[in-house]
């Protein structure tokens, strides 16, 4: 019973643990900006804590390098359930421009199961707050896959799967 009540109040008080897995600190500075009075994210009840054991949300920044891979996994395991993981910045989303270099494992999804992605290099503090508001359900998603075609052919050489067809896609055709 207490667990259900706690789940209901979970979106109102998220405690955040910031984990930098080899980032250039650009995204870290933007995360710090989000906690300043100008963009104040504490009005949503979010607080920065120093220990993963106190946290609910892990903000992962940086493409996960090889030395930090087991450490990020340990920090993620130290967070008590229920937990959410945010990948901040294009390094955490997909590895950035270093996705296939010798020391990088390729983004947050290689280390921990990431729930929300905030792309940007670095993402503006407004973009991070937008990601937080999206997770809390306050706004709707604005990014959607875009498909642009010049001519449409009924060719089965590129037969697409049904899942690809049913996505929420912005579809435009060249009109002439």
């Amino acid at each position: 019973m207490l667990a259900k009540l706690s789940k209901k109040f979970f979106p109102k008080s998220l405690w955040v643990y910031h984990c930098n897995s080899g980032a250039c600190n650009g995204c870290d500075i933007e995360i710090l900006n989000v906690l300043t009075p100008y963009y104040d994210v504490e009005r949503f009840g979010i607080r920065l804590v120093g220990s993963p054991r106190h946290a609910d949300v892990m903000l992962l920044s940086g493409s996960v390098t090889r030395p930090t891979l087991p450490l990020v996994r340990r920090a993620h395991a130290a967070i008590p359930a229920p937990k959410i993981v945010f990948g901040i910045g294009s390094c955490a989303v997909g590895g950035g421009c270093w996705f296939d270099t010798y020391n990088v494992t390729g983004g947050g999804a290689q280390a921990v199961p990431v729930d929300f992605y905030v792309p940007g290099c670095p993402p503006r503090p407004e973009a991070i707050i937008y990601g937080v508001a999206l997770a809390l359900g306050l706004v709707d998603k604005k990014a959607a896959p875009v498909e642009l075609k010049q001519v449409e052919f009924p060719i089965d050489a590129y037969e697409r799967s049904k899942a690809w067809e049913d996505r929420n896609v912005i579809y435009q055709l060249l009109k002439d």
């Binding site: 008080s13 009840g45 609910d56």
Partner: protein, 300 residues
């Protein structure tokens, strides 16, 4: 009938302690020119913490029992005190010494939990908390001894409201100043929040605690803060007693609110002291408190 007041005490403390913490956070935010969390935010925090997964990361029994011990000690203190001037069932059977004992027991449970965590940061936090406790508890004892001397006995109900009848003397004024200077240390906020909740050692003694255990510790801390504010209001602010139970409690709660506003303002405008600076400060305060106690004994 007096037994009912025990439960009224406990209920008032349980219900209002997070509200005062919320007031503190809101005022801190306003001083920092930002909007701040909603006033009921600590309630949401506590409910969420109490429902999270419970990880006994140190795998020993002391780790699980320490938060329960701290919470129980503070609840006992809340049950014992004469809230609203009413001496309930427990107040008539306890005295000043057992009150001090219970408070120290709460602090020792925090230390026990920190030392059972098997974490170096917790050890550092525990040593700082120990130094703070050793230097601060004498001031609390001196305040209660002043109350006991002024009212002529160790009975809790009269020791905690001595100045209504005896009036203000030099000793009481000196003790008031000492208590105000030590208030931030009792409550554990800047400039003296050296032990807990500090970013230098990653939240100090509570670093390994998660979920429900941490929620209990937080709740115990909030109620302890409310108790210290209540002590100030009860000993040093002789408020008009209407004789009607709930109105008395309400007046004292308003007094506690004023004290919390003061705590928040001082907390938001001060940096944090180092442990050696803080210990020197407390030593000066202990000397002044001793002088005040001696003056009270001499009759001033």
């Amino acid at each position: 009938m007096d037994i009912v007041y025990v439960f009224v005490n406990v209920a008032v403390f349980l219900l209002f302690a997070p509200l005062f913490q919320g007031v503190t956070r809101k005022i801190t935010a306003k001083i920092q020119s930002r909007q701040g969390p909603p006033l009921l935010q600590p309630y949401f925090d506590l409910i969420k913490l109490l429902g999270k997964e419970r990880m006994n990361s140190a795998r020993n029994w002391a780790f699980s029992l320490a938060p329960l011990g701290a919470f129980a000690a503070v609840l006992t203190v809340a049950a014992m005190i004469p809230l609203g001037g009413k001496a309930n069932f427990l107040t008539q059977r306890t005295d000043v010494i057992s009150l001090i004992y219970m408070l120290v027991l709460g602090g020792v449970c925090v230390l026990l939990g920190a030392l059972a965590s098997r974490n170096t940061f917790a050890l550092i936090g525990a040593s700082r908390e120990m130094a703070t406790m050793i230097m601060i508890e004498p001031i609390l004892a001196m305040t209660l001894i002043l109350g006991a001397v002024k009212s002529g006995g160790l009975k809790l109900s009269s020791a905690m409201a001595p100045l209504g009848s005896a009036g203000y003397g030099i000793a009481a004024v000196l003790m008031l100043a000492v208590y105000l200077l030590a208030l931030q240390a009792f409550v554990g906020r800047q400039p003296f929040d050296i032990a807990e909740a500090e970013v230098e050692i990653l939240e100090g003694p509570f670093i390994e605690y998660s979920g429900a255990f941490y929620g209990l510790f937080k709740y115990a801390m909030m109620m302890k803060q409310m108790f210290y504010a209540f002590l100030f209001v009860s000993v040093f602010m002789p408020l008009p007693a209407t004789g009607f139970g709930p109105a008395d409690i309400l007046i004292q709660l308003l007094g506690i609110l004023v004290v919390f506003v003061l705590i928040a303002i001082i907390g938001a405008t001060n940096p944090r002291f180092r442990i050696d600076q803080a210990v020197k400060f407390y030593a000066g305060l202990i000397a002044a408190a001793l002088v005040a106690a001696v003056l009270a004994v001499k009759g001033f």
